[in-house]
Amino acid sequence: MDLVSDRGRRVSVEELNTTQLLANAAKQARQRNYDDFIIVDVDAHHYENEHFSEIAPFMENDVLRQLSLSGAAKTGRQAIMPIQIGFQDMGGRVTRYPLRATEKTPDGTLRDVELGYRWMDAMGVDYSCLFPTGMLNIGLHPQKDMEADLCWGYNRWVTEKVLPETGGRMYSMLCLPFSDAEESLRQVEAFGGRKGVTGFMITSVRDVPVHDNRYMKVYRAIEERGLAIAFHAAFNWYEPIFKGLNRFISVHALGFTVSNMIHMTNWVINGLGERFPKLPVLWVESGLAWVPFLMQRLDHEYMMRSSECPTLKKKPSDYMRDMYYSTQPMEIQDMQALETTFRMINAETQLLYSSDYPHWDFDLPSTIYDLPFLSEKARHNILGGTAARLFKLPPRNEKQKQNLIKYGNLPV
């Protein structure tokens, strides 16, 4: 295969085979004996935007379905979802983007599942939480009814067509149409009990106040079902504050953190941790460096302005320590700073490994395994023990079972 390089020059590369591309990851998995660890990837992706012709038939409204089916047939010429300017592939440098369509999968297999197995097996991942890609922008959809129906169609397609084909190795936190609280509640009630559903995701690129009273019934419905809620970050270059940023690196670095910082601040300051003490809340794909910043910032102001948040019974950082964080993209730049971050978030019980594969800034399990300051318990918990307990994922072999019991993630 050829890739286009500078000045149109063509460079030959191997055609894409995920197993081959990740051969070095498989080597790491063997060297570190990952079989003994249950490894749960709480944030992996598929490209559902390549399957809209399969998703649209599951939409409820005849008119919206017809609009979407017609649009899906015109791939590349008509957007069904809000789209962003983006250069995730770095001009073809991250080769799995331009080569993705060339990867072959056997007839009769579901492509997204087959590709998922390939990278999971290479990395040594036992379970992965399947999140969409294009739908991370669903919160920017100007049509509330279309947002709700696209979520409905996607949630039906994932739970009826995709997850049943994964042999239980993939699960999901389904996409909430969060612009409409009533519709969000209806989808929690409709899908919350389905196999492979461990919770619901709020896409963070949206400007709704998460503390608004209309959402309380949604959170309560999720909490009552013993499910979790995740805020999945993304970026929006059209956001007024980001319009001055001239490079993708800038908007990506800030967008993924700021979107979650806004919602985290509202969640904490409005006392939602007090109102929903049994609801696990997970912050996804913002890395970790933002958390100590926000903890210190909110605590500092809280000590002076506690009268503005009377529901709180402890410092904002204490509520933040009750929540869960996915690791990726973990900023391994200053090891002491990272160690401090782990201490501040109680990583041993609150941090969950995530790869974000196949996206450009994915992390391997070795980013956790190789950290020099982790206890053995923390290493097991972060790589998958905590997630296995939280999402009720069974061990896949006897050694994993022993380790889950040993570190308190499975009752004896």
Partner: protein
Amino acid sequence: MAEKFVAKISEFQDGDRRIVTVGDKEVGIFRDRGQFYAYSNTCVHQGGPACEGLIIAKVEERIMPDRTSRGMYFSETDTNFVCPWHGYEYDLRTGECIANRKLKLRQYQVVQKGDEVYVVT
């Protein structure tokens, strides 16, 4: 020290590369402007196949004497190769990571014998 046959020079085009395995090591060999260079195929970042991705000119920015920018351009002289996992870029002539030149891929010696190229590991 072992020598491993890489390719015939006549079949190794300028701007091309080969990956060879020697024991448990993988080595990437590049030919650029007539010279051969060989580096470990394991990225310093997360261990990706550093030598197997795109080969592309280094990106520079034209800063004028008045400190204004006149935009980015491709270097006429410097070429990088890029790890396909995450985009870590390496200077093809030194193996140094462009973002932090203290980080460097292990370099191997390349020898030519007649029409044949060998890498020494």
